[in-house]
Symmetry: C2
């Protein structure tokens, strides 16, 4: 079987590595120039995009910001999974909010803003603590602004003055006093079978994911079941096929959906060595119509992103249960260069291993590591 992935970054690369043992050949599309490349070497393959689409059994995406004309072309083949509608929900916060509201899935109170004057109204209805998010093209913390109190409003309006809000509206959300950020990675295949992974707990810094721990600590069956139910409602409602990531805020026993990512997700990378079947293998199984693999955790795992840094001691591999995933990219500030997975059999040991890991890493690039090691060690 053959799968074509729009996008030629690390997610396509990890799909390739997961697909090869199943006899699934993954090809990647560099959407900057519409060429078909090898997902690992990035070398051009001897095939045109049209030929690749023709020869593929399934088409999918590694990110939601694929140019729409490509998604439309892919849709015409009848092989695109998830569907263009599902992908665009992930690419546009206005559509995303409409979907959540339509399905009555709990999310942050919000308003859609197309004119700056509406911000005063937002403060009246949502309160003065607000998060403003560009509805498109914003991720990893880009295109986000915060309002801490209404005195900041004039300055914020000046900052936003150059934006064309009629074209790209803002989603303005009430700042939720959540306890922590969780994510649920789940998968639904062509046959409609659903499996969800244990909830992951995510630590961000400056808008980027730095550390995930899965299964998240202090999750009882009821909370996991609630997350599972949210996933089923969304995935069935969208007739979704593939891996879908649901980012959540936990507020006591409640879960609010923050964001959807219609693809394999950074907070699911722990599954490569921490779950029976990785999210990459399950995504391919799902879109190829194969039975889904077991999503159970093998033991407590942590995923540590390597961001903006390429120089560290490979001696970190001496830590039992650690696995390096290096993407082979040239280093740039804030760029995700790779990640480290660590799996063990207790949270205490996981904390100890994160502490061990910290000795091999330049800590200025890993601002969340020591704190998380301490928390897990207890």
């Amino acid at each position: 079987m053959r799968v074509v992935v729009y996008g030629a970054g690390q997610l396509a690369q990890m799909m390739y590595l997961a697909g090869s043992p199943l006899g699934i050949e993954v090809q990647a599309v560099d959407v900057n120039n519409d060429t078909v490349v090898h997902p690992v070497s990035k070398s051009p393959l001897d095939t045109s995009l049209d030929q690749a689409l023709e020869g593929a059994d399934a088409l999918t995406v590694e990110f939601e910001h694929v140019p729409e004309h490509l998604l439309e072309e892919a849709t015409k083949t009848g092989k695109l999974m998830p569907s263009i509608e599902s992908i665009l929900v992930g690419a546009d916060r206005v559509r995303e909010k409409a979907l959540l509201e339509g399905m009555k899935v709990a999310n942050s109170a919000h308003r859609i803003v197309t004119h700056l004057e509406q911000l005063d109204e937002c403060i009246e209805t949502l309160g003065e603590k607000l998060i403003l998010k560009s509805s498109r093209d914003g991720y990893d913390g880009y295109g986000q602004w915060r309002l801490a109190n209404k005195e900041e409003l004039p300055e914020l309006k000046r900052a936003l003055a150059t934006l064309n809000l009629e074209k790209v509206p803002l989603v303005v959300e009430k700042m939720v006093p959540f306890e922590r950020e969780l994510s649920l990675i789940g998968v639904r295949n062509k046959q409609g079978d659903v499996r969800t992974y244990p909830l992951a707990e995510n630590l961000h810094y400056q808008g980027q994911l730095h550390v995930s721990v899965a299964p998240a600590t202090h999750v009882d069956d009821a909370l996991q079941a609630k997350a599972h139910d949210i996933f089923v409602k969304l995935a069935e409602g969208m007739d979704y096929v593939g891996v879908l990531a649901v980012e959540l805020f936990q507020c006591g026993d409640e879960l609010l959906v923050n964001e959807l990512a219609p693809r394999v997700h950074n907070s699911g990378h722990w599954s490569q060595s921490g779950a029976v079947t990785s999210q990459f293998e399950n995504h391919l199984r799902a879109i190829c119509g194969l039975p889904l693999g077991d999503t159970s955790a093998i033991g407590p795992s942590a995923m540590i992103n390597i961001i903006g840094c390429s120089s560290f001691s490979r001696e970190l591999l001496s830590i039992d249960g650690s696995h390096l995933h290096w993407y082979g990219k040239s280093v740039r500030e804030k760029r995700k260069m790779g990640h480290i997975n660590v799996t063990t059999d207790s949270y205490t040991k996981l904390g100890e291993k994160l502490h061990d890991l910290s000795q091999y890493l330049p800590l200025e690039y890993f601002p969340k590591l020591i704190g998380e090691a301490k928390r897990l060690k207890g």
Copy 2:
């Protein structure tokens, strides 16, 4: 880092898949025509063999029968691991026996035969139940003959008459009444660190490995320690670097070395999902001078070879804990086409899962499966 593997079959392919996350690019040499190919697609790479050797950080082999002139060329670079001497031990049973004898490692009583008349002497000293093995180029049951009693000797001599035994001697072994065949996969890195995997139990049919179970059932600490000690003696004695497979006969509490394979080995494939670190990753870590990964088992695993058959139901993936590894080769009689790994948390469940698996497979190609399922279910 870059590693060049002599041989472009499934072992090089699985090394590539294991190396990529570590940032190790694996290239394969098709030794039939000295071209450098991609280990998965088998497409020629845009590099000559000389350039590839020049650009590599380490050179290794996926099989021991690499033409000697290539191994000599590789040796000159100073990058070949394991060494040419270690590889040739695996390719030549006369050298292998000399090594075992020299290191005083227990193995089957045997004689080296260069003239057919010596067979009578073999019967006198070793008894009339014998196994005769061609000292070179024989594997997967090829180049082996059995003598059940001395009345068969004239017929056997006729069968062997065309062989040039002075050029390729026979190793004639006393047939050992062993209880079962085990193998120990171990790894030693450039720094001299050693790790061994739990013993695997191997079921053969017509000279080919069909099923491995690891950790082998009914292995106490003393037996595992004995196997580990054999490995250390051999690996240190040979100054071995990389994964080395030691095939063993168990006779009560005793272990006799049957064969050495200076490479990743079919009986270690279970480690891909059944151990913390796979043999493929550990081989690459070893030859690249990286710390070795944890060789502990995650749970009882079985590896089932798919031999000479390409048609079976992919619904077997519905069995939780099952993983398919498909090599992408065209089907031929007795050819290894792929394997299935199954990992779970008890031998009873493993037996049940093998039973489930049998429902999806054409059993004429899997003659050991049902029996092993029954044995494990107990």
